[in-house]
């Protein structure tokens, strides 16, 4: 073996390993093996953190001068545009599923619920962070009013925005631990003004200990379920159905 041969072997090995990684990524079994880390992280993170560990809160001086609008900036859906045209006066949030008192909330009803104001950092799965002030109804207060049944485990959020030509609308889900967390709110104000359309008018979710894709915009309805297996792709969210982790705390 001479030096040139060693070099050539090393180069070939590198090339093979990278195309090998692509093959593995396309396979069915390998991403599933990699996904084991997500389940482990989910369990470990919940064991390490207190149930009510609070995301850091900031001051007005820390607000981002420009807050990015990611994902859908302006839903083109006809039903949404009708509501927006009347400034969401007719908008209603039905809460259904495994609850004792299913009911619908208008924006006025939500504003009458116990609220919370928080200045928090929004972390996107892409890597950027931005700070804004959010005010909204505490989800815990709403849930106490509708009274989840004992078998309810997740809250599923349905949205107005259609994401692709297949017609799939955005949706997400969180567990009850996150749903009852003090910082989990249904936000109707952003930086002291009614939530603008690019940020999810008239109502969006804030789950401050997870990544941005959990925090749905343009809310259309909520459902309490025992399992999300039968909803859309069965993975608990629009992006989860496309390979992203359901536990978005990383």
């Amino acid at each position: 073996m001479d030096r040139r041969r060693v070099l050539r072997l090393l180069g070939l090995g590198g090339l093979l390993s990278l195309t090998g990684c692509d093959r593995l990524s396309q396979s069915r079994w390998f991403p599933r093996v990699l996904g084991k880390a997500e389940q482990f992280n989910h369990r470990l993170h919940h064991a390490l953190a207190r149930r009510d560990s609070m995301a850091q809160e900031f001051t007005e001086a820390d607000l981002s001068p420009v807050f990015p609008s990611n994902g859908t900036r302006q839903p083109v859906d006809a039903d949404y545009r009708l509501l927006a045209a009347r400034n969401f006066a007719d908008w209603q949030l039905p809460v259904s599923g495994l609850v004792r008192n299913p009911r619908s909330y208008s924006l006025a009803d939500l504003r009458a619920l116990p609220s919370r104001t928080q200045i928090t950092r929004h972390d996107c799965v892409e890597g950027w962070s931005a700070i804004a002030k959010w005010r909204g109804a505490r989800l815990a207060a709403l849930l106490d009013a509708v009274h989840p049944l004992p078998q309810a485990r997740y809250v599923v959020f349905y949205c107005y925005d259609t994401m692709d030509f297949g017609g799939a609308r955005y949706y997400e889900s969180i567990d009850l631990e996150d749903a009852f967390h003090p910082q989990t709110i249904l936000a109707y104000d952003w930086n002291d003004q009614p939530l603008p359309v690019p940020y999810g008018a008239p109502l969006r979710l804030r789950v401050e200990r997870q990544l941005g894709y959990k925090m749905v915009k343009f809310l259309r309805g909520m459902e309490l379920v025992e399992s999300f297996d039968a909803i859309a792709g069965g993975n608990g969210g629009y992006w989860e159905d496309r390979g992203y982790e359901w536990y978005a705390g990383i």
């Binding site: 820390d62 950027w128 990383i250």
Partner: protein, 279 residues
């Protein structure tokens, strides 16, 4: 694999006919595992970086305050597509490598990322799985290394070495001296490089990685304040990744400089073969 009869430090000094027993089995296993892990971590890390190819200091990512940003643009006169990398306010045309490659706007080119296509979800899967392998491999190496005193005997600078550091430094600017000292175990500069990687860069890599998790930031706020914000942590994570890459490149160059066949054999079999008139 054969091993030494006793748990002594790596053999140095006069060589037997069969050479010097240099690397014990746990070192060899964790070393080669680490190579695979680092390749995957770098490739998948660049994939994740490409989802937002810019870096900042502090908590926020204000676009006007990026210290590094990659973006494609159309040249105002020629109409050609260009990849522009802005570093500390200065713009560089990096078309073909950074910011624009194979006609597509992307931070790092396809040949450097895992997977090669733009596929953030899959990059994250690789990264977050292999991160655990990196940590477990590191813990295994350190536990073994501290328990057998490999770290204190073979890696830590002896007091004489520490005292003569400036002289050693000058001496090892010459490759001939490095070559001549191969049989003496790791040379002091080599030790410093390894210690830096093992006890400073690798732990910082893990901590800055953890600091990017919003869940862990809530549970352990000190994680993120330690680095002056989540975006700083992301920047440091990126800089250290390239620190480790530079270390690896120099490491491989040194292997080639002092004798790739003997060094590779030592890392595979444990034994540094006796010197011959090398080709």
């Amino acid at each position: 694999m054969e091993g030494p009869a006793t748990n002594t430090a790596m053999e140095t000094g006069p060589q037997s006919a069969r050479g010097i027993y240099r690397h014990r089995l746990p070192v060899r296993i964790t070393h080669w595992l680490n190579l695979v892990i680092l390749v995957v971590m770098l490739g998948s890390g660049l994939q994740i970086f490409n989802a937002h190819p810019a870096l900042y200091w502090g908590e926020r990512s204000d676009p006007s305050h990026a210290w590094l940003a990659m973006a494609a643009r159309t040249h105002p006169e020629t109409g050609e597509r260009q990849g522009i990398t802005r570093l500390f306010g200065r713009e560089y045309d990096t078309t073909g490598i950074l910011a624009l490659s194979a006609g597509t706007p992307r931070g790092f080119p396809a040949w450097s990322t895992i997977p090669s296509d733009h596929w953030l979800a899959m990059g994250r899967r690789w990264h977050l799985f292999f991160a655990w392998l990196f940590v477990l491999n590191g813990i295994a190496y350190l536990t073994w290394g501290l328990a057998t005193r490999h770290v204190s005997r073979d890696l830590w600078l002896h007091s004489t070495e520490a005292r003569h550091l400036p002289r050693t430094f000058r001496r090892h600017l010459s490759l001939r001296a490095v070559r001549a000292d191969v049989e003496q175990g790791y040379n002091p500069l080599q030790k410093i490089a390894y210690l830096l990687v093992i006890f400073v860069l690798a732990p910082l890599m893990v901590l800055t990685g953890l600091a990017m998790s919003p869940w862990l930031d809530a549970a352990f706020p000190v994680l993120v304040s330690l680095f002056d914000g989540r975006q700083s942590a992301r920047s440091i994570h990126f800089i250290i990744a390239f620190g480790l890459l530079v270390f690896t490149v120099i490491h491989v160059l040194m292997v080639f400089a002092v004798g790739p066949i003997r060094e590779l054999r030592a890392m595979f079999t444990g034994r540094l073969p006796p010197r011959q008139n090398e080709s």
